[in-house]
Subunit: 350 residues, 4 copies
Amino acid sequence: MHAAQLVSYEKDFQIRQVDDPTVTDPHDVIVRVGAAGFCRTDIHLWLGQFDAMQKGAGVDLPFTCGHETAGWVAEVGSGVTHVAVGNAVLLHPLSTCGYCRACRDGDDMHCTAGVFPGVLAPGGFAEYVKTGARAVLPIPEGLEPVDVAPLGDAGLTAYRAVKKALPLAYPGSSTVILGAGGLGHIGIQALRALSQTEIIVVDRSQAALDHATGWGADRAVLAQDDGSHIAEVMELTGGTGAQVVIDYVGEGGAQNDAVGMLAANGVDLLVGYGGTLNVEILTQALFPETSFVGNICGTYNELAELVALARRGAVKLETTTFPLERVNDALHSLNEGRLVGRGVLVPSAS
Amino acid sequence: MHAAQLVSYEKDFQIRQVDDPTVTDPHDVIVRVGAAGFCRTDIHLWLGQFDAMQKGAGVDLPFTCGHETAGWVAEVGSGVTHVAVGNAVLLHPLSTCGYCRACRDGDDMHCTAGVFPGVLAPGGFAEYVKTGARAVLPIPEGLEPVDVAPLGDAGLTAYRAVKKALPLAYPGSSTVILGAGGLGHIGIQALRALSQTEIIVVDRSQAALDHATGWGADRAVLAQDDGSHIAEVMELTGGTGAQVVIDYVGEGGAQNDAVGMLAANGVDLLVGYGGTLNVEILTQALFPETSFVGNICGTYNELAELVALARRGAVKLETTTFPLERVNDALHSLNEGRLVGRGVLVPSAS
Amino acid sequence: MHAAQLVSYEKDFQIRQVDDPTVTDPHDVIVRVGAAGFCRTDIHLWLGQFDAMQKGAGVDLPFTCGHETAGWVAEVGSGVTHVAVGNAVLLHPLSTCGYCRACRDGDDMHCTAGVFPGVLAPGGFAEYVKTGARAVLPIPEGLEPVDVAPLGDAGLTAYRAVKKALPLAYPGSSTVILGAGGLGHIGIQALRALSQTEIIVVDRSQAALDHATGWGADRAVLAQDDGSHIAEVMELTGGTGAQVVIDYVGEGGAQNDAVGMLAANGVDLLVGYGGTLNVEILTQALFPETSFVGNICGTYNELAELVALARRGAVKLETTTFPLERVNDALHSLNEGRLVGRGVLVPSAS
Amino acid sequence: MHAAQLVSYEKDFQIRQVDDPTVTDPHDVIVRVGAAGFCRTDIHLWLGQFDAMQKGAGVDLPFTCGHETAGWVAEVGSGVTHVAVGNAVLLHPLSTCGYCRACRDGDDMHCTAGVFPGVLAPGGFAEYVKTGARAVLPIPEGLEPVDVAPLGDAGLTAYRAVKKALPLAYPGSSTVILGAGGLGHIGIQALRALSQTEIIVVDRSQAALDHATGWGADRAVLAQDDGSHIAEVMELTGGTGAQVVIDYVGEGGAQNDAVGMLAANGVDLLVGYGGTLNVEILTQALFPETSFVGNICGTYNELAELVALARRGAVKLETTTFPLERVNDALHSLNEGRLVGRGVLVPSAS
């Protein structure tokens, strides 16, 4: 089959002929790729930032990226019972064992024996991809692979944070969303669909903010170099601060904005990354009794919930599609900030 | 192999030669039985009370009971990765699929494709039993199959209710346990190990109550035909009622005692069965804002927790062992109320 | 002042001259009534169904009903700090002590020293009413007393049940609402505003169902004498049943419909009353692990949340207003099923 | 009356004659002091570290410290109903309003109108102290003020963190407690009384560790300058890390130890202070999905629970008592590390 492979860091991806994946375990599922999201993490991979992690896991170049995949089941192992050949499916990013305590708690991301196609195993920038049965989610009628592929990682990550926010986002509360980009635009829609909290969106880009009210935000605040957006958020909340901050940025200093915006008992949901969080324990964690909560992707059931939101039209993805062989267009347009919405690769066969 | 089979309702079990179970699915696990608890549900099966349910599931006599089984792994299917031949294991009662929403939530008992050995498939009153990989829990060093078999159902059922009670069983609260029998003696120990709630045990048998304080109860109340034990519980709680009632009886009228013993916002945890619960909605559910909460066995992770409690010595089973061929002694002594603790069958080979 | 008083059961209310309430405790708040909801509970009072409860509390006829009151603060005791004379306020139904464990947990309805104007103390069918400081909720700008009075009891009761439903009403779930009347029309709107669960409304009245989709319901099912609506709900949920039922009816047999409509781990939220709930423990509570959860009004903070929903336009009340002296018109039109929406009494002075 | 006052920072406290406190608000309660804990926060006050905060609140020297007070009710305002003159009481550190959203949620520490005797108002190092009705907790029979005074702050703070830990401290889990000092010795006992988690205590003092197993710890690990105690904790947990860390230290580098000791989904409960927490977001918060949770004292109901634990003998305080006039002995022995257990001042009159 054809695959778009990373052959050398910071060089263009190459379309190469590789072996088709085959069923070697009873839980294996081979999926014919219908759509593969191009994510910022693929840029990190392309830059070689995951090189050490991949080498440590025995993974080397050339490598097939792609961890936001949807398509149709092409072949299943003898232990697979909940999907059949031909089913349209969306892939949860992690293929999990189903036996460890984490799996048995529904905490898929912390499976002690998980396999991560597109990061630590061959991914979805190809005609076919292999994953495990527990990662395969049937897509309901009315949705196509190309509609949902980016929900698998970007969407799921945005949604999990929203879900953790909901108990605090009661009517009359305020919720700050830092970052109205790829994750933010899903997070805002999901939060709007599931709460009546006052949604305050903060971003450095006025263009992004202009979209945010259309996604359901109540207020848009332009982030400033002088940090004055923090005071603006405090004023918008009547001086009390927000009950929750969802930080989809996590770098460039934004990661330390939340402590200035939170009400007592506030929760700072960490999603974006790149930076270091610095917390003065007495004044920033103890007195206000703040929680700082890490997030990584989400569970399979959360992905099913997100697909249900999409099916109801409550969450709509903004995407730009590229034929698989145009992978480098997706790469460069994302890398250079020219990409509108999420990029999605579509193999010719699909 | 030999199995103790129910050939005709209300007749003695017969030791019969049956085919050894074999691996037919990648998730199958064949366990050499080391110990099989004899449970009151086996009496219900023996009496034919599950006949319609079994017939509906295509199960017929002769039938091998036994749903509280522990032993050693004898053979595994190709999809089994977390246990190996020779491992000592305790069986969760339900063999689950790992693919449905319930399984993915850790809610094992509501698997939509579960198999129930000993009730709806051949069980543990035999030399070998077949179950699925997700039902097999490794036993830690220091515990033997015969020590833990009854934890698989009776223990797990008792523990799940305790676990639901804990958030309400804060220091200064009162918890009533109805029934100091097979489940109660585990429930009392577990509740004592995990809380400092005032434990008030109610039973019709003074002998059972005499044991209860040794298991950790603070107070013992003899149930009376005139219902005066309800007033006694109210008095012991200073007139407010208990925060929680765990009803391990569920029949003979006891099922309606809880409403008279509960404080505002109280929870009645239903575990024992046989009766019908009647609730006058306005005065017994709305005004006091009472919850009536059903329980059925428990999850695999809860079973692992219970085994951890046993390993710490925090929960000790009282058992009487019988060689498998003496199955009818176990039956009759339980049925006639002569059995001390839980009965456990041990195949000769073990 | 004038008050509309119940002088004799089942006889028309009388407009009588009574003493103005006065501040006798530091926590007292005297409210000039702007609007007083006429609730079905007032019919129960009128019929004398609460006679024994009232007598037990030393309350006798003539009596001033009215437990859904909004207005303006007229006078406050020396211990009142959060509201001032002239503030527009909505009254939580129960005046609470602030000292008992329930109050300290935010569990207002179970205050051990609560006072209940309109049921166990003079209520809001008058020009002035006395309550306690902790019952007084400031109304935000943009809302008037007449807009919110029925939120104090009917709305709060409907909302609390919705709030308990939310954790189970995840995207992809189904929620059944029994009863599209006074409580149901608020419950449906609140549930729609806070979830994307599939809302299935069941009612005996086609006219009520016709409104329900406008309030946000996805499906409307006509309740039938033969109980066939239960099968219809099962079919609408794809055979699994609903995750939650909110029963705003609670009598006439409807109270026993939920068990046939619930999925595994389902929750039956009891709100309506009049009937007795009968639960066959093994098959209706244990096997499906169902919970039956009582509800009574709600907390002060929940009332504040509901007012926030109203302020956002997410919950709109349908009301018919009557001058206070036309109280009997409200009574009879409600009693005879002619009332559209909630009835609200407005004193002439307001 | 006599009070031990801070007249000049870093100078000995002086016994001075000051006015008796008087009832000026309906909620005031005057308590005759029976015992006043001398806490490390009093050292911070003595050093002037809270000078800016106090000045900002209009508080100046000379000042009466003491925020861990117990005694007997001497006088009450007209709005106080739950205690009477002569009752033995323990004081919650914060006097709360009962009207704000936090109070109504039971979240006492975040009252928007709280008064903090001993820090921002005259405290308990005196014969009498004034507080508010909602801060006054009756002490059950069998306990004396001198037995419980330090529970009011040190105990409550230790307990609240334990309470947050409990849902994660399931049987089979591991919990690390950093610091076996004044808070740690209460935290360990409370955690032992309420869980069967494997308790691993880490401290720089072997003497402190020697006591820890007596309080209920399972393992004691000596903290080392080279950080090797982190690896030791990992080994004790079988390589997975602990489910929870309770950090009673919070400075000197210990505040950054938790991230190396936690399992996936782990929670770092921040209690001790002085340092800054630094979290590399991707690797220390996102990948392991860690939560960092601030804690400040606790709620009134939590204090009641802690007193219930003390009454059952499940938590025992180690104290050294000093007559009030020997306040400087308490100061210097604590400051120089010579104090055994918590210091408690007792006015002569008591």
